[in-house]
């Protein structure tokens, strides 16, 4: 197994804020690796350091065996990156954007022209190649950026929130492209996302990142198994009483949050009636009850005590306060 990316104690500070906090991981060549976490978790900062756009404060990172701090150009030649925010020239055509990129990476013109056509066909933009990017939809722009990131045949491709803001259909489409790329070209792909489903469907392994730290890293399957079976969620005004009532050995873990009790257990279907009976016997009201197979959302919840959405809400709140503070000065 060849190691494409090796990261050890990678850290980045912005003044007092530790945006990325001593993270370590390894990614094998050909793997699709996901960084999953809420807004402000440090995903983009991590990618920026791996792509040599930002200097680490501490720790080391190697991409294709090259140290990101020692040989920036070496790393840059072997990676492709699709940034979180759009980075196309809107006044150029799709083809011209590709051509510009190809020239920047010094691809000889005959190969460049062949590849541009081939890639534009792959992302189904060939018939729009001479249109100005300004006239493209969000999904088309994203596909163009992915095509552009592949033009110089990178062995590692970074995708920062590749499907953010796209409709479900386009998102599905992009997932298929990404999976095909990895399968057919053997490209190592590192993507960041805060969509659980994206990480689950696409990634061989997922690192869950929160407040700059990796709190769990495994295959999506193992992460979900780690929860301990299925998940039953009971909504009730008296969650504490429910937790007290359900002291059964077949329950693997119980968390309460936001007026809900989240129970992990094996064979949930068989135990459901017992659970309901126990609760009703103590005359505790139940507003709703549901059973589902565990998702990465449950994994995140079990590690942080919050869902990703709540985490984002609180981060947004912090950001809003910071903006206010800055505005006052």
């Amino acid at each position: 197994m060849t190691i494409a990316i090796h990261v050890e104690n990678l850290t980045r500070r912005f003044n007092d804020l530790v945006a990325v906090d001593h993270i370590s991981f390894e990614i094998a060549q050909g793997e699709i690796f996901g960084l999953l976490g809420p807004n402000g978790a440090g995903k983009t900062t991590t990618l920026s350091m791996l792509a040599t756009m930002l200097k680490p404060s501490e720790g080391t990172a190697m991409v294709n065996g090259i140290d990101v701090e020692r040989d920036e150009d070496g790393v840059r030649r072997s990676i492709g990156i699709v940034f979180q925010d759009q980075s196309l020239d809107e006044e150029l055509t799709a083809w011209e954007n590709m051509d510009f990129h190809g020239r920047l990476y010094r691809i000889p013109s005959d190969i460049r022209n062949l590849r541009i056509d081939e890639l534009l066909k792959l992302v189904e933009l060939f018939d729009r190649k001479d249109d100005i990017v300004k006239t493209f939809s969000g999904g088309m722009r994203r596909r163009l950026e992915i095509a552009r990131g592949l033009l110089h045949h990178p062995s590692v491709l970074f995708l920062d929130e590749p499907t953010l803001g796209l409709d479900p259909q386009t998102r599905n489409h992009l997932w298929q492209y990404i999976a095909t790329l990895s399968r057919e070209k053997g490209i190592t792909i590192i993507l960041t996302t805060h969509y659980m489903e994206e990480a689950d469907r696409l990634c061989n392994r997922v690192a869950i990142i929160d407040h700059g730290k990796i709190i769990a890293l495994d295959t999506p399957g193992n992460l979900k198994d780690g929860i301990g079976g299925d998940v039953i969620t009971i909504k009730s005004p008296e969650t504490a009483k429910i937790v007290e009532t359900l002291k059964e050995p077949w329950i693997n873990r119980m968390d309460t949050h936001e007026g809900e009790v989240v129970i992990s257990l094996r064979n949930a279907e068989q135990h459901l009636s017992t659970i309901v009976t126990l609760i009703v016997a103590r005359q505790i009201p139940i507003s709703s009850i549901s059973i589902h197979k565990p998702t990465l959302e449950d994994v995140f919840l079990s590690f942080t005590g919050k869902t990703i959405r709540e985490q984002e809400a609180s981060t947004t709140e912090i950001m809003r306060q910071q903006m206010k503070k800055m505005g006052r000065h």
Partner: protein
């Protein structure tokens, strides 16, 4: 060289496509020429500088259009930063110096083309080219102004976070540079205390250089003009390259 060419090529494509901007930046110097030139032609008397105010004004308007276009092209980098395109260039395996030089070459070319448009329009309203070498000298000075002030724009853009400071720079830096340069009136006609300040303005030497080329007369020795504007161009390119190296995104 191939990288510089690539970035230059992009500037050219954007330039050719921006018809409204091309016309917009011809409009101001052209209005100046028509209104000031024809309006003041019979009123203004320029002792020792030929009798024709329009002839005097044309080199100034050519310099003006080169100045504004080039500063503007340099400052474009801020838009590239805001629209994200700068990241695409910065993450490529190329040096910042190549990017900066490409941007400078692109900006200078656009600026010189804009200046030439004014020059050609001037031929229609009465400019007569004295000699071919003189014409080439004028173009040489336009190129120097173009490079120097594009680099100047890049230097400003590299130290600015967003477009908020743009108006300030225009009003307090670019307009004074233009106003003090002797583009509109002979520097000798300014009050004595302003004299030294005009001599500190690099554009003064550019305007005088173009004027020498086009009309054969200038108030400053053309060799001095060349030395000063040439020195300014080299210094600005160095400063621009240095500041661009440190640009953060």
């Amino acid at each position: 060289m191939d990288i510089i060419y690539t970035i230059w090529l992009r500037s050219m494509k954007r330039f050719i496509r921006s018809k409204s901007r091309i016309i917009g930046s011809i409009a101001m110097p052209l209005f100046f020429l028509l209104f000031l030139g024809f309006g003041l032609n019979s009123v203004v008397n320029l002792p020792g500088l030929g009798e024709n105010y329009i002839q005097f004004l044309i080199p100034g308007m050519v310099a003006m259009s080169v100045l504004f276009t080039s500063v503007f092209s340099g400052i474009q980098i801020i838009w590239d930063k805001q629209f994200g395109f700068l990241k695409e260039t910065l993450v490529a395996p190329v040096t910042r110096l190549e990017i900066m030089l490409g941007q400078t070459a692109g900006g200078a070319t656009t600026a010189v083309i804009q200046g030439l448009m004014i020059l050609i329009l001037s031929l229609l309203i009465g400019l007569s080219i004295q000699t071919i070498p003189g014409f080439l000298i004028a173009i040489g000075f336009m190129v120097l102004i173009g490079i120097g002030f594009t680099a100047f724009g890049i230097a400003i853009a590299s130290s600015m976070e967003d477009m908020n400071g743009f108006q300030l720079i225009m009003n307090f830096v670019i307009f004074p540079i233009f106003g003090l340069s002797g583009a509109l009136f002979p520097i000798s006609s300014l009050p004595g205390w302003l004299g030294p300040i005009t001599m500190l303005d690099p554009l003064t030497y550019g305007v005088e250089g173009i004027r020498y080329g086009l009309t054969g007369v200038s108030q400053i020795n053309p060799v001095i003009c060349f030395a000063v504007i040439g020195g300014f161009t080299v210094a600005m390119t160095a400063i621009g390259a240095y500041l661009f190296r440190k640009i953060a995104i």
